[in-house]
Symmetry: C2
Subunit: 114 residues, 2 copies
């Protein structure tokens, strides 16, 4: 049996946090953002956002470049695509197992009806 889909735990835990998912959404929509600009669109403080940006940066999902007195962050498309692939991978693995269970259950039911 194939082992469970190989999952990058750092990547997953990065997108596992609701706040970070929200930030990724905002960055995708706006294209670019800073800790301050993001915090204005969210119910958390700038410092919290900054910490999350650090996490996303270390996970490679986001890239920050200094620009004058502010620091602009952008989504790394390739890495986010990888993350999406991981979501699909885990999902389809469970899906496959559910199908298998369902088939087994159906088989048992048929067997009992004989």
């Amino acid at each position: 049996m194939t082992a469970v889909a190989e999952v990058d735990d750092d990547l997953w835990s990065a997108i596992g946090d609701p706040t970070r998912r929200r930030m990724l959404d905002l960055l995708l929509v706006d294209g670019v953002g800073t800790a301050t600009s993001l915090s204005r669109q969210m119910p958390v403080t700038r410092q919290a956002v900054a910490k999350h940006l650090g996490v996303l940066d270390r996970a490679g999902l986001v890239r920050g470049t200094p620009d004058g007195r502010e620091r602009r962050y952008r989504v790394d498309d390739v890495q986010l695509a990888r993350a999406v692939a991981q979501l699909a991978s885990v999902g389809s693995a469970w899906d496959a197992r559910l199908q298998r269970i369902k088939r087994i259950a159906e088989a048992i039911q048929r067997q009992q009806q004989d």
Copy 2:
């Protein structure tokens, strides 16, 4: 623009933890399991597993029924299917945004070449 996919944060945070994902895998493969039986297949203690089973139970992903001196847990197929759907939903939302950004970028590039 469609708002970001509606996501059940409890459900998501339940499956966000690597240990809990592992437990769901084991329960799917074995069909049924107890805190003790699961802990024997994982690098954590029975108590840790029990806590996670509590989280999964509250999230509805798993159902536990007392049976003599042990408590058997089984995956709730419907809820897990819902979780899979959420993963797919968030993934495809990001995917769509990536596509959209790409189209915009291409459009801008064409514009600049005029």
